[in-house]
């Protein structure tokens, strides 16, 4: 028992304490969180925009060209792996300019997530009873006002669980940032592995941190969901 413990302590020392290797983990976590937060903001903006264009087209038949562009975007983004998109954006589109890799990652993951958010939000908009829309219009609200005051708030509440899920998926997907040599949480653990030739300990630590963050996110989303539900109770 003492033997096992002393070996564990030794491994722990080599992987995390020696040469301040824990910093690979903490710095990596910060990078992961930064990418996720900004990508989520970009994704939600793109997602709502695309969802509104698509559902406006479905409801009114207007915005034909914008709708075609949106559908193309959805098909391409959802039909190709996010790693490939990340590599194309970094090595292809931004090849000839010097640009912060963080920005590249945020753009890539934001554009990717936007496609999924768009379909989630669109399903939320389409799930709202037609009578809500008519009630808004009959009072004199124009199309945009009806969307903003009446449809979107209800749609948002309906799709909140799905959006929370998308946030969790996005957080985990950023683990491929290492492909463009970003030192995110996953890469941090991997760097430690390459130094200490010990795979289990750093990678289990990385996994545990992802899990912790996800549990915290789930808790927060659940709380928001309950609060919104109470409000219409």
């Amino acid at each position: 028992m003492t033997e096992w413990f002393s070996e564990f302590a030794d491994r722990f020392y080599r992987n995390f304490i020696k040469e301040d290797r824990w910093q690979y983990i903490t710095d990596g976590l910060l990078v992961t969180i930064q990418i996720t937060v900004f990508a989520v903001i970009l994704g939600v903006v793109i997602g709502f925009l695309v969802a509104i264009i698509r559902s406006t087209h479905d409801k009114t038949g207007k915005l034909k060209i914008a709708n075609v562009i949106c559908r193309l975007y959805l098909t391409v983004i959802r039909g190709t792996p996010v790693v490939v998109q990340l590599l194309i954006i970094y090595y292809g589109i931004f090849a000839s300019v010097t640009i912060d890799k963080m920005i590249v990652a945020v753009i890539a993951f934001g554009i990717n997530s936007g496609a999924y958010v768009a379909e989630i939000v669109r399903s939320g908009i389409m799930s709202i009873d037609k009578g809500q829309f008519e009630a808004g219009r009959s009072l004199g609200f124009n199309y945009a006002q009806t969307m903003i005051y009446i449809i979107i708030p209800q749609a948002f509440k309906n799709v909140l669980p799905a959006l929370g899920n998308e946030l969790i998926v996005l957080l985990k997907e950023t683990s491929v940032s290492g492909y463009i040599a970003m030192e995110d949480l996953t890469k941090g653990g991997d760097i430690i592995r390459s130094r200490t030739y010990d795979a289990m300990m750093p990678l289990l630590a990385v996994a545990a941190i992802y899990l912790t963050v996800v549990i915290i996110l789930e808790f927060l989303v659940g709380k928001l969901e309950r609060r919104l539900r109470n409000s219409d109770h």
Binding site: A135, S138, L139, G140, Q145, Q154
Partner: protein, 248 residues
């Protein structure tokens, strides 16, 4: 009645839904005057709801014109949103906004569209709520109300915009029988205050009592119109006779 008393003038109104063979409305013409309470009755599928929903362009007519307060609202250049503020509508399914409490349901349109202050809008809403006996439910959410209460709130929501006409689309059809009376009472009061109303309904007794004119529609056309006394006691067309024999 003189023509300058006309609030809504409908001429040869037509509506054909995509993919349908027959016209839902087949050239309907009617003048609705200030203070008039017009009831529209007829079998289901007769086009009466479509007619009502065309009046504020919730359904876009495929032909004909509608003059509302002298303005052709079927003209694509007309901003219909301005005119809809003057046309209150009450739906069969109430369509209250479930994510807002009652006060917010009642004040959002006057505040956002008429530029009323919060205090002003809430004062108007409160007065109207008191009149329908629901002042104590101002903070409730629609889900906490009964069907009859919801519909009374829906009427108040439309009235908060100070409309010139109220359109009722089968306002009691989704209600439990014991709740019909409370909604009809509110409508009766409105009629007594000379509110112009167009009511699509199956409540024949109520039509007989409140209407200034009753219209019978069938197959997308107005078949017969008359004062309520004549309409119910002395129907002229065979179709109306047969309809009345089934519903009364």
């Amino acid at each position: 009645m003189t023509t300058d008393n006309v609030l809504i003038s409908v001429k040869d109104l037509k509506k054909k839904f995509d993919g349908m063979e027959n016209h839902a409305l087949n050239g309907v013409s009617i003048d609705i005057h200030h203070g008039e309470v017009v009831f529209v009755v007829g079998p289901s599928g007769s086009g009466k709801s479509t007619f009502l929903r065309c009046l504020n362009l919730l359904e876009e007519p495929t032909g004909g014109t509608i003059l509302f307060e002298g303005v052709d609202i079927t003209d694509p250049k007309t901003d219909i949103n301005i005119h809809r503020r003057k046309m209150g509508m009450v739906f069969q399914q109430f369509n209250l906004f479930p994510h807002m409490n009652i006060m917010k349901n009642l004040t959002i349109a006057p505040m956002k569209l008429l530029g009323k202050s919060k205090d002003e809008a809430e004062k108007t809403a409160m007065e109207l709520l008191e009149r329908v006996g629901l002042a104590n439910r101002a903070d409730a959410y629609p889900n906490q109300l009964s069907g009859g209460q919801k519909q009374r709130i829906a009427i108040v929501r439309a009235l908060c915009m100070k409309p010139d006409v109220m359109l009722f689309d089968e306002p009691t059809s989704a209600l439990d029988p014991e709740m019909v009376g409370e909604v009809l009472n509110v409508m009766r009061e409105l009629a007594e205050e000379n509110m112009t109303m167009v009511v699509v309904t199956h409540e024949m007794a109520f039509a007989k009592e409140v209407a200034s004119r009753v219209i019978f529609m069938d197959n997308g056309s107005i078949v017969e119109e008359n004062s309520p006394e004549e309409f119910f006691s002395n129907p002229k067309s065979e179709r109306l006779k047969s309809f009345l024999s089934k519903v009364i």
